[in-house]
């Protein structure tokens, strides 16, 4: 995720306030509170919601929902949370009525954070919002949102460009495979997004109905023209006999660490691989795409997210449910920095923070998608995906990986947990 200096100052400043609270106030340390998107499970009669949850295992309120706003009117839940550089909170959404929303946060008379609601934004027909990042085009900052469904159709998909102040659509970047012509760059089912200088990359993942089509390319977008200019195939092994379905992507770049040579890293959800695509910034050309991690060889599947701290890169693998860790300075090569962190099946999003006693922690949200459970006769169940839905957040010591505590949202709240973000940012500095 792109963090401006101001966002850092706002969030870090707020964090400084929090870290200096007296011991008597330690139960109210907001830096250990997480924002989660919860999915109501149809057979358990619960509604989707946005909630603030205490994630410090040292707190006697661990696992408690501190504030919650439900969305009983929405068939599908909100999907991914992101803070803007100015500290505004946004969420993408799976429901066509709310593919992108701004979430309201405020404080009550006790100073406690409360979710004051959310406002669905006009996306001009773009559906199934996935990832958000803020990047510049010709010196002007915009909010870029991937819409996996785009404006509809079998080969839909778009990147929405939004005004950062008004949230209005500035442009819809769209290029249907069926319309651009053979060999011309297209955008289809975009999900992951990242950028370096004037080049943006989005992935081609899967049609939102999980049946119509699956992608296998990266799409490069010229941020000057806001147009797609190139597709890069990232497909080799096909362990599921599906196209590779690249999902999350990270443009590794020198501002993450001065020793990093620019390159795209991409995880393929159904290929189980991590790919590297070198980039020559002087000629603005991409090199040969190659697999740098094989899930088949390493007995892992469904690699998902990239999160970077100051010195490590973390990649989640939904099966068997682990987070692998690498030396940040060694990117774009994946050089292990320690043993896997063993989470639960569906290991997905994560945040980094400290406990009240100062212990460095990582919390991992373990669900691929919050669809129903077949054991509950849930009509939304998909077997493959149900195996990747533990409905948990596991909390681990960051240094050792030791699991310290787990919240089972299905057991405790009759809901699944779809996304996790820190209340004051996530302690990571690189996500997209």
């Amino acid at each position: 995720m792109y963090f401006s200096q101001f966002k850092q100052s706002v969030l870090v400043g707020a964090g400084l306030i929090l870290t200096s609270l007296s011991p008597a106030m330690s139960q109210d340390r907001e830096e250990s509170q997480g924002m989660v998107l919860l999915r109501g499970l149809p057979t358990l009669d619960t509604s989707h919601s946005i909630a603030i949850v205490e994630l410090d295992p040292e707190s006697d309120r661990f696992g408690e929902i501190l504030s919650e706003v439900e969305q009983p009117e929405m068939e599908h839940p909100l999907h991914h949370l992101y803070y803007s550089p100015n500290g505004r909170l946004y969420s993408t959404g799976l429901d066509p009525s709310c593919s992108l929303a701004e979430v309201g946060l405020s404080r009550d008379a006790d100073g406690a954070p409360v979710i004051s609601g959310f406002t669905c934004l006009d996306t001009q027909g773009q559906m199934v919002g996935e990832d958000i990042m803020w990047a510049n085009s010709n010196g002007q900052e915009y909010m870029f949102v991937t819409f996996m469904g785009g404006t509809g159709g079998d080969d839909g998909g778009s990147v929405g460009v939004f005004d950062t102040q008004t949230n209005e659509v500035v442009k819809i970047i769209e290029a249907r495979k069926s319309q651009v012509g053979e060999g011309e760059p297209y955008i289809m089912y975009p999900h992951g997004i990242s950028a370096f200088e004037d080049r943006m990359v989005v992935t081609s993942t899967v049609h939102p109905d999980l049946a119509t089509g699956v992608g296998n390319v990266l799409t490069i977008i010229d941020l000057n023209a806001l147009e797609p200019i190139e597709n890069i195939l990232v497909e080799k092994e096909k362990p599921l006999n599906f196209p590779s379905s690249p999902v999350e992507v990270l443009f590794a770049r020198p501002d993450m660490h001065p020793e990093i040579e620019p390159a795209i890293l991409a995880n393929t959800m159904f290929g189980f691989e991590t790919w590297k695509v070198p980039y020559d910034a002087s000629s603005k050309t991409f090199g040969l795409a190659e697999v740098i991690y094989s899930g088949v060889a390493n007995k892992t599947a469904v690699p998902l997210e990239f999160y970077g701290t100051e010195d490590e890169l973390f990649i989640s693998h939904a099966l068997p449910g682990v987070v692998k860790r690498y030396e940040l300075a060694a990117l774009p090569e994946l050089v292990s920095s320690g043993p896997d962190i063993v989470a639960d099946p569906g290991a997905h999003h994560m945040i980094f923070y400290t406990s009240a006693s100062g212990r460095d922690l990582i919390a991992i949200q373990n669900n691929l998608l919050n669809l129903g459970n077949g054991a509950d006769d849930d009509p939304t169940d998909v077997d493959f995906i149900a195996d990747l839905a533990s409905h948990t957040i596991s909390v681990h010591d960051l240094e050792t990986g030791e699991r310290l505590a787990t919240i089972d949202f299905k057991e405790r709240y009759n809901k699944g947990v779809d996304n996790l973000e820190g209340l004051f940012g996530s302690g990571f500095v690189h996500h997209h």
């Binding site: 400084l16 008379a109 100073g111 102040q165």
Partner: protein, 373 residues
Amino acid sequence: MLRVFLILAAVAGIAAAGWLVWDRLRAPIATPIADFSAPFVFGRFSVPPDNPLTQEAFALGRHLFYDPMLSGNNQVSCATCHVQALGFTDGRAKSPSLSGGELDFSSMSLANLLWGQERFFWDGRATSLEMQALMPIQHPDEMGQDIDDLMAELRASGTYRKMFRRAYGEVSPENTANALATFMRMLISADSKYDKYLRGEVRLTAQEEHGRKLFMAHPDTKISLRGGNCIDCHSQFLTSGFRDALDGFSNNGLDPDESLPDGLMAVTGNPAHKGFFKVPTLRNIAVTAPYMHDGRFETLEDVMAHYNDGIVVSDTLSPLILEADNAPEAGQGTVGLRMTSEEMKAIIAFLHTLTDDTFLANPLFSNPFDGGS
């Protein structure tokens, strides 16, 4: 007929007397502040458990704040030196003292005191708003009031007896401090142009945006990053200071060692704190001239000139200020940011976006003796 009238009158009389007795004996009323909401991005705040925010305490505190009864000569109120339209400052370098001279420090702006600080006054001599509230009242040069005499005056007032009873119970120095602290805590400013910008309601001009970026940046010539270095000390500029007890104090290069005032050292006794003064809020900074703890600078242009090439080096000068230089290649003739005229103007333009006209004219914070609601 007369008998019925007398009976009704007697019943009414008994009821009235009963109500009066009940009203005096009942516990204080603690009505939560209606529709309270504060910006999330300002961060966590905490209110002393024994002095919660209530409507009754706020109303009492507001009356006390504006009442010259709080001074020994019944002519000076808190509002004499804290004028709402001036961001609760008084527009003077130093306020006049009762003895005819002037006070040691410039009147401090009051806004968003809910957040942050654990120490109050320019030299940090008070550790809570409640502690702070009674100090000017009893200071012989500020309000010159004997606290026992003040309690007697307040108890003699039926209006105040009733307001204290509703807010806290009895008239006491402690409850006087609590009420004033509550009023000050409720002075929330969150509707400046910059607040609106953060909420996405307005855009900054190109000059204001340039100033915003300079404000946030520490200069780094290695990567051609120009900066005003403001955020290094003013990271809590939206609120009112730091919660970490002493983090919000700094020596910003005003005086040489020979004439450096004690500042925070007068409170802590630590020589490393000599010349340290509180880093103030920048809320409404454009209406709170003159500037610095002694009001030595009349304009924001003067302030920027100081930081640009007027820094005076002393033993305790903030290293963040000492090392912030946009033109190190120009030699060491002066110490300062060495920005261009346009850059300084941009920062000043940004500082003007911190003016909250709604706050400065909010009738809830105005003088209730002027007929304010």
